[in-house]
C-alpha cells in the first residue's frame, strides 16, 4: 500500500516535471539598452549618461576614466543581462519615427528647458505649464507635443512588432518611460509615479 502511494506520488511529480511551459519573458535589460540607444539618437548630446538602471555602467564613476573603465569591464566580462540578445530596432518604421522625433526635438528642447513641457510617467510628453511660453509658442507646443506623442506611441508599437511580440508594447512603453526620465538633463521636468511633477 505504502509502495503504491509512493509510486503515485512519484507519478504525479513526474507529471508535474514533464509539464514544462516555455515562457518568453520580456527582455527588460535589452529593452533598456534599445531605449537608451534611441533616446541618445533622438536627444543627441542632451541625453545624459544615466548610471541608474543601466547595467553596463553600474559602478561607474562620474569621471570619463571611470566610465571608460566600466565599459571595458563590461566588454571583457559581459554580465548576464548583457548576454541577452539585443532587440531589433532597425526597421524602416522605427528609423522613420526616430528621424521624425530627432528633427522635432530641436523645437521641443527649449520648451523642456523652460519647464513648459514635461515627461510623463507613461513615456509620453505633456504641456505642463503654458504660462512659461509666449502666446504663439503655446499653440506650437501643443502641436509638437501631440505629434511627438503620436510618434512615441508608434515607436513603442513598432519595436514590439519588430521583435515579434506585439504584446510587449506596454512593457516597452514602461521601459522607455523610465529611460526618458533617467536620461533627461538637469532642469527638465518629469512626472513621478504618483503623477506629481519633479524637476531633475
Amino acid at each position: 500500500m505504502e509502495t503504491m502511494k509512493r509510486a503515485g506520488l512519484m507519478a504525479s511529480l513526474l507529471a508535474l516535471v514533464a509539464c514544462v511551459t516555455i515562457n518568453v519573458y520580456f527582455p527588460a535589460a535589452a529593452a533598456e539598452r534599445a531605449a537608451d540607444r534611441i533616446i541618445e539618437d533622438v536627444w543627441g548630446e542632451d541625453a545624459e549618461d544615466a548610471p541608474d538602471g543601466s547595467p553596463a555602467q553600474s559602478g561607474a564613476g562620474d569621471t570619463a576614466y571611470g566610465r571608460l573603465a566600466a565599459r571595458l569591464f563590461a566588454a571583457i566580462i559581459p554580465t548576464a543581462d548583457a548576454a541577452e540578445p539585443d532587440l531589433n530596432v532597425s526597421t524602416p518604421a522605427i528609423s522613420q519615427i526616430q528621424a521624425s522625433m530627432q528633427q522635432r526635438h530641436r523645437l521641443l528642447e527649449p520648451m523642456y528647458a523652460a519647464g513648459a513641457i514635461g515627461l510623463t510617467n507613461n513615456g509620453l510628453l505633456t504641456v505642463r505649464d503654458l504660462k512659461a511660453l509666449d502666446l504663439k509658442s503655446r499653440k506650437q507646443a501643443q502641436d509638437l507635443v501631440a505629434q511627438d506623442n503620436r510618434d512615441r506611441n508608434g515607436l513603442y508599437a513598432e519595436i514590439a512588432k519588430a521583435n515579434g511580440h506585439p504584446e510587449w508594447q506596454a512593457d516597452i512603453q514602461a521601459t522607455f518611460a523610465r529611460r526618458w526620465i533617467a536620461n533627461a538633463p538637469n532642469g527638465w521636468w518629469y512626472q513621478g509615479a504618483g503623477g506629481n511633477w519633479k524637476q531633475k
Binding site: A93, K131, L135, K139, D143, E158
Partner: protein, 708 residues
Amino acid sequence: MNCLPASGFREFQPVKTPAVKRSTASRSTTLHVLLTLLICLVGEVTWAVDELGLDIGNLSGPGWALEGLALGWSLADQRLILSADALVLPEPLGPVTGLQLSCARLQIHSDGITCSGGRMEADHPLLVDAIETFSFRFERSLGAFRIKDMVVDLETGLVRLEAAGTERSWAIDAEFEGLDLSWIQARLRLLNTDIDELTVRGRINGTMRVERHAEGAMTIGARIRGRALNFSDANGRLEGENIDLSLTTQASLHQGSVDFSSNGQWRTGLVFADPMLIEAVSGAPIEFRLIARATPEALAIKHFYLDHSGVGTVVAAATAAAGDWRRATAQIDLEVLDSGKAYVTYVQPFAPGTLLGDLQTGGRATAHIELVHGDPVNLRLRSEGAWIRDTLQRISFEDLSIDLDWRRDSIGRSRFGWAGSQFYKVPTGHAGFEFETRGGAMELTEPLSVPLLGGFLHLDRLGAENFRSPQAAWNLDGRLSGVSLEQLSEALEWPVLRGDLSGMVPKAVYRDRILTLGGALLIRAFDGDVTITDLRVEQPLGLIPRLTADIGINGLDLAALTQTYAFGRIEGRLDGRIRALELQNWRPVQFDAFLGTPEGDRSKRRISQRAVENLSSIGGGGNAAAILSKGFIGMFKDFGYRRLGIGCHLANNVCEMEGVSAAARGYYLVEGGGLPRIDVIGYERRVDWNELVTRLQAATRSSGPVVE
C-alpha cells in the same frame, strides 16, 4: 399731522431758529417717508441746536436694506445729513457702511426739495473717499427724483453718474473715462468674488445705462472702448495681449427671460484661447454681432455674424433647449476667403497629431450646414481652385473643385475634381467624378478614369456604406491600363523597371483603416503575368503604412524586361514568387523571394556581358568586368545559359541569398550553357539589404554606354 419724533431726538439743545413753512407728509414709498420726515423736521422744530438728529431705524426693499438710518442737521456748516450705518446690497456687492449723504444748499418747496452741492461718503471697496458735488431734486406730486453731475473719482479714472425717475421707473447713466480694469479687479477681489481666474489690465472708456421700466423690465446697455487690454487666466489657457476693441451690448430682462444683443470690433491684439490662437492685425479687424434670447427653457441665437477680415465670415442662427447645446438646431453659413488662414486658426488646433492636423491648404470655399437636434441633415460645400497638401507628404490635391450636396434624408448629387493629386510619391493627373449620396451611402454615378503614371486607373465602382460611422466601408472595383513601370519605379525610388502595367483591381475594401483586396490583382507586364494575392494595406495614410502581399510571377519575357535596361540584356523567360512580402512605409522589411528560369523552359536563353558583370556584383562577386574584358572571353558580347535564378529571404535587414543550385562554397546565379560556358557564382550568403539595394541601383543606373 404730527411730525414729532418717531424714535427720539439726539443731542437735544434748544436754539431759536426761524420757522419754516409747514408741510404735510405723505406715506407709501420709502423715499417719500424719508423726505417727508425731513420736511416735517425742518418745518416743525423751533428750537436752536448745534446739530439735530432723528433716528429712523431700518428700511428695506427688494434686494436692499438700510440699517440705522438717521437724519440730521449740522448747524456748523449748514448741511442736512442723511446717514445710515449700513446699506446692505445683494452679494457680491455686500454692505456699504458709514453712508452719509449731505447737502450744502437745500431748497424746500411745496412739492419737494432741491439739493445742490451734495456730498456723499461711504465705505465700500468700490467707492473711494467722498463724492463731491452733485445735485438732487425730488418732486413729491410726481414721486420723481433726479440726481445730476455726480462725479466719482476712482483714483485711476473718473465716473460721471446721473439718475432720474420714480420708484417704479428709473434710469442711471454712467460715463467712464480711463477706468483701470486692474484697479476695478483689485476692488472686486475685496468683495471675495470668484474672479481670480482671470486677471485683467488696461483702461476703458465708455458709457453705461441701467433702466427700470414701469412694467418691471430692466435694460442694461453699455458701450465700451478699450485700448491695450491684457487678460490672462491662472493656467495660461486663456490669455490676450494688447487688445484694442470696442463693444456695444444691450440686455433686457423681463419675467425671467433675457434679450441680448451685442456687436463689437476687435481691432488688434493676440488671443490664445486653448487650443486656438487668434490674431487681429491692424487693418484686418474681427467684427461680430449677436442677437439672442434666453428663457428658462431655451436659448435662441437669432443672429450671429462673425467677420474675420481676410479669413472669412460666419452667419448662423440656432436654437437649443437650455443647457443642451449638443442637440441644437442650427443653420450655419460660412464663407472662407482664405482657407489656409481659416484652417490654421479654427480647424488645425483641434486635430493635432492627426492627418487633419497635418495639412496645408489654400483657396476659397463656401459652406452651408444645417443641424436638427444636433444631427447634421444638410451640408453644401463649394470650392474652386483650392488646394490641400499634407505636410508629411502622404496626400495632396491641387486646384480642387468641389460641389458637395449631402442630405441626410434624400439623394444629393455632388462633384469632386482636381487638376492634380499625389498619393505619397505617386502623382495622378486631372480627374473629376460625380457621385450620389443618401444618408451614409455614397456611389459613383458613372465610371471614372484617373490618369496615373502615363496610363489610367479606371474605377468602375466606388461606393461607401455608413461613411458617417466608425463602421464605414469603402468599396472599389477597378482596372489599371498602360501604367508606366518606369514612372512608377522612379516615383517609388525603386530600381528602374521598364514596361507598362495593366490589370484588374477586384473588390477593394477599405474599412477600419485597412485596405484589402477581395481577389487577385492581375497585372500584365513584359508578356507575362504578375499576380498579387492577399494584398492588405494597414493605415495607408497613417504614421507607418504597412503592406503585406504574396506575389506570383509567370513567364516574364526577360528580353522585354531588360530591353533598354542599363542592367544589361538578358533573353529568356522568368518565373518567380515573392511570398510573405511586408513593406513598412513602402520599404520591404521581409519577404521570401525567388526569381529564375522556368522549369523546362524552351525559349532562347542568352545573357550579355554587362548583365553578367552586374549579376556578379549583386552576388558579391569580384571584379568580373576585368576578367570578362580580357582575352578570349572578351571577344563574346553575350553567352548562352542553361538556367539562372536568384533568391533572397529577407528578415532583420539581412538577405539570405540563394541561386539556382549549390556550388562549391557558393551558389550558381547563372549556370552556363554552350560554349564558351560562363557560370556566375555568388559567395556571399548573407547580404545587408541596404547594401544589396545600393548595388542593384548602381547596376541599373549605370550611365555608361550599353554595348550589347
